[in-house]
Amino acid sequence: MAGEDKKGKGAVQAGTAGPKKLDRREVLMGLSTVPALGLFGYAWSRQRRYQQARLQEAAAQPVAAGDLQEINVALLGAGAQGQVLTDAMLRIPGLRFRAVCDVWTEYNQKRVVNSLRKFKHEVNGYEDYREMLDKEKELDAVVIATPDFWHEKHAVDCLKAGKQVYCEKEMSNTLEGARAMVAAARETGKLLQIGHQRRSNPRYLHCYEKLIGEAKLLGRIVTINGQWNRALTPDLGAPDRYAIPDARLKQYGFRDMRQFRNWRWYRGLGGGPIVDLGSHQIDIYSWFLGVNPSAVTARGGTLYHDPVTHEWYDTAMVVYDYDTALGPAMGYYQTQTTNGSQGYFENFMGDQGTLLISESEVHGARLYRDTNAPAWDTWVQRGFIAAPKIQEVQEKDDTAVTDVRESISPDEHLVPIVIRDPFHQPHLQNFFDAVRGKATLNCPSEEAYATAVAVLKVNEAIEAKSRLSFKPEDFTI
């Protein structure tokens, strides 16, 4: 400030001493706010300790890890999905991360290695999974989250190296690949769980075992409607300084960095939204109905995106036929990637009730009792479902037209299962429980193979523009 400047300079001039001889008052005033920095450092270190403690708490459940046989785990594929699985695994007790393998050593591998080290897991980073399998002899299990077209090679080689394997869905981008994986699991006698994580989700298990199985609240399921609506998202990019050298990209089957980052859209690498998104939900159709489809009709296309960079269809509308034990049924499925409204859900409609279910907490699960169904009071009393929601009395609108044929709106019951863990945690937990011999896999490779048959056929049906039939033997190996 001007006045002060003059004053300050005046004081120094008056001193006229050499550079070292600063007025004591000047020095004290100059340093007067430094203690604030010390205070900040103290507060920040307290905050850091608190955050670390919370993370450790979240990572290590209060289960006596000593009672558990520790499982040595490696992550193969440290991209977005690999990170999701890692975050979930950090909450599972009795796991010891040993290695992380990813070809993007400049970024993804480094990120996951560093974050695991923060949790005191001494992990080694690898670019080549074969080197990892060679060097990390003590590995018990490998969790694979690489692009679909690598799954066969990775899973088969890990199984043959004697490792138990959790592999993300889609189990392969080709049926030949998926068959080879099932064969390797059988041959080696090792576990191969595929990441259709809804199969271990407490909400889905409750609906499958209790509501559909035991209480039979839906009656005979005749129609299904499932959707995954995803908002428009720009393609993934990567800063040039983290770019993978061309030679390495080619070595691992990618044309360039753009294709590497957006592999899901490319033929020969992924399967497009019907495989990425639809696979999860179409898997539930067969699971809940207890049969695989008998035919599929589908329309789809690249309606919105640039077909040069989005080789797979951005939109698909599919109808499956099923011959269930109770009679024929049809399942509609839609996925599109230009609008995220309504998100994702599956809606099962039977002659006694409707089940609207989703992995997302936005929809949760709710059951609607059809008017001709017997009362559900027993199931409310037993805690299978919540008491019906009180229907609000609608204000009369004289201008609204009512049709006498319109059904009375059915009672809505919430399914009282709230998920607080990451979506993938129960499925991974099931896998590690199976590794310890304390559980059987909820989605072994044979089950996932049947889903792959049903799902990969959609792309074929879109191309063929006709109804394609399945034979029961298509689903078995």
Partner: protein, 166 residues
Amino acid sequence: MEDARFSSGQMIAITVLRVAVGWHFLYEGIAKLTAASWSAAGYLKQARGPFAGLFKWLAGEPNLLANADLITMWGLTLVGLLLILGLFTKLASLGGIGFIVLFYLANPPFVGYFYSIPTEGSYLIVNKNLVELCALVVVLVTGSGRFAGLDRIVHGLFGRQRIATA
């Protein structure tokens, strides 16, 4: 302060203001630096107002975004440190003002904008960003670092050296 225009009490108050704003900047910067993978992309994609196009474009350019992320993380940290220490206070204030102008313009509380992001208050034109910006303007024009801060020492030395060479 024995200044003609401001009393010591007034200058102390402005210094406290400077340190508080610096503290906030420093923690905003450090929190981003220590987060697992912080990026401005989410914030930029939500941009509204006359410059929304520019901010959204930036979010879609990986190279520029990576630089913007680095500049934001380190910039906030540096501005915070300098403000607390009262070193190069005017430059730090200007830098801080620059950051806040960008934050303000990315999500301005203008008439007719309805945000779905929860906020802890109600704002019309003036929000806490703008108030912090005004605080930095006060710090800038009063040069509080030369009252209580390393600027006082720097300027003392600088002044003396000039005299020595004179």
